[in-house]
Amino acid sequence: MATAKPRAQASDRITLLLSLVPYLLQNNPVSVAEVAENFDEKPATIKKMIEDLTSMGVPDRAGDVYSNQMFDIDWDLFEHDDIISLTNTVAIDATPRFSGREAATLLAGLSLIEQAVDANTKSVISELIRKVARGSSQGTAEITISAPTPPSGLETVTRALSAGVHVEFEYRSPTSGSATRLVDPVRVENVAGTWFLRAWCHSREALRTFRVDRLENVRMLDTKIDIAIDPSTLPDTLFDVSDTDIVAVLELPTWARSALADFAPREVRSAAGKVQLEINFGSLESVFRAISLRPGLITVVSPESVRAHVAAWATSAL
């Protein structure tokens, strides 16, 4: 990650240390494997952390740290059986509060999720929002997300997803017109304010990404999905446009280039504050959509045929 700072590592480790101790107190003794799984860390990381922990403690005023003021474990169990059994702990026994920023990230995430869920879960979320705010030591940072009205089909899709059943809807794609689609929903994603459904499409026998606001007449069926696809195996890129016909080069001011980040752009050249990006498009409609992300700032440089289509498209709207 380009923005990672050295501080990140130290703060990650302190947070883990501070969180590890109350967990170990509640689950004493516990296997290294179980701790690693709970914290989503490697067993080796946890072992190293436990070793570090046992060298730390509370000094007296002269700076001496006596053994009863340090963390200690049953070393036989630790070394032979990979079991952590605390025999002495100091100072901390509870989970630390959230920082203002930490609380804000949770609240912002919750307000996005809230859009996609049923009334029951919505009320769970409003209670959660209160609890997280109370769990902060510093209020919450001034970073918020205010989600728009979700598209009408979203809730049905989410319910079908939880129930593991088929969904059917009408879908008009820019390339192939309107048709009824029967799908196994795999995941709904919110990307930059827009909801997408990733699903196994029985009509196409392929994984497909649908804009949820483009689904018409969404029906949740009562037939179960036969073979569920693990949503975590999906690639992060929404659209697979490797088999596309349109490859275009778009030019825009360098400062605005992040506008096209979701299109998997390849930099062709960069000079005088402008950057040229080569992008694969599934259809002319997606070219128009890309241009419209910063109207007037993004220009198709080539091919000439796509330039002409864009010109005609814009002129017809004048």
């Binding site: 967990y23 920082s99 109370r134 008009r172 409609e285």
Partner: protein
């Protein structure tokens, strides 16, 4: 002995301050806590000052973790003097006992934390999740297929967020729609709000001595945080204020569009704003005419703005520019 790592020093400091309920004097801290103790020399002013600066930096780092080191200044009644003690109070440190989470709630919080995929706040959400994990709650995967993503994948957001957190002042070039050239702005960020997928910043504009709202997407240069400049906005809930202002604007402003009923625009707009009337018109509320025009551009000629005039004009200028840039209209 090898020098203690930063996290070992800071962790020891936290343990020590929690253990001493009545707080410790700075000299007691520097003279006893591992990581300071080995460099502590009360007779050397230069080294003492540098150690005190290190303590202040650690205090600030620790504060970023959500752990507040209190400064207590005690006046002596019997003589003209005072002492400063540092401590971490239990009630400020510990998650309240009644803040507990069910497996379903924990799963929702984990999803919320995982929405932050990049940028500096993904670290903060990761830390929140680590703290939640210390509660040892098993997850239930009821909502495993819902994956919100919050995009902050550029330096602009990170710099402004950091500046906001430090109550600092940032400088950037800003391009207002309709203006040919960007202008330099010097602004103290007060709140960052993602509204309908678009990042807004409420800020105090230093040059005009007033609050302004900015869109991050119109910042032409990556903002820089000005060294040693701070701005105290006071204890006001600015996110709430910004949200209320934008909602009020949205109530005030109504647009009327004519939508081609056979178009993709029809399906997408009606999924959010409800059905068209008999004249194929759609009425909707909006907070900013330029944001709305940007959003409608992709629909091309299948959406016509009827009112307000400012929206008609904003769309015309967008299509005019696109046509012109592609060799269409001169």
């Amino acid at each position: 002995m090898a020098e203690l790592s930063k996290e070992e020093r800071q962790f020891s400091l936290i343990l020590t301050l929690i253990s001493h309920r009545y707080g410790l004097l700075i000299d007691e801290i520097l003279g006893s806590v591992p990581g300071y103790r080995d460099k502590y020399n009360p007779n050397n002013k230069t080294s003492l000052d540098s150690l005190k600066r290190q303590f202040e930096r650690d205090k600030s780092d620790i504060r970023d973790l959500g752990i507040v080191i209190e400064t207590l200044t005690l006046e002596y009644a019997w003589e003209d003097g005072h002492e400063t003690r540092y401590r971490i109070s239990e009630s400020d440190y510990e998650l309240p006992e009644d803040v507990t989470f069910s497996p379903a709630e924990f799963s929702l919080l984990r999803l919320a934390a995982e929405a932050w995929r990049d940028g500096s706040l993904s670290m903060e959400s990761r830390h929140a999740l680590t703290k939640l994990r210390s509660l040892g709650i098993p997850a239930n995967d009821a909502l495993v297929g819902v994956a919100p993503r919050i995009n902050t994948s550029n330096d602009t957001f990170d710099v402004l967020e950091e500046t906001l957190q430090r109550q600092g002042v940032a400088r950037f070039l800003y391009l207002k729609p309709g203006e040919g050239a960007p202008t330099e702005r010097t602004v103290a960020p007060l709140a960052l709000t993602n509204r309908h997928g678009i990042w807004h910043m409420l800020g105090h504009d230093i040059d005009v001595h007033d609050q302004r709202t900015f869109l991050l997407s119109r910042m032409v240069s990556t903002p820089t945080k000005l060294p040693n400049r701070t701005f105290d906005g006071g204890a006001i809930d600015y996110s709430d204020q910004l949200e209320n202002e934008l909602s009020a604007l949205e109530l005030q402003n109504t647009a009327v569009l004519r939508v081609d009923p056979s178009s993709d625009a029809h399906i997408r707009l009606c999924a959010i704003y409800g059905p068209l009337n008999q004249a194929s018109e759609l009425e909707l509320h909006f907070s900013d005419v330029n944001i709305l025009a940007d959003e409608l551009t992709e629909f091309g000629d299948s959406v016509r703005a009827l009112s307000p005039a400012s929206l008609v004009e904003a769309l015309q200028s967008r299509f005019g520019a696109i046509a012109h840039n592609h060799g269409g209209v001169k």
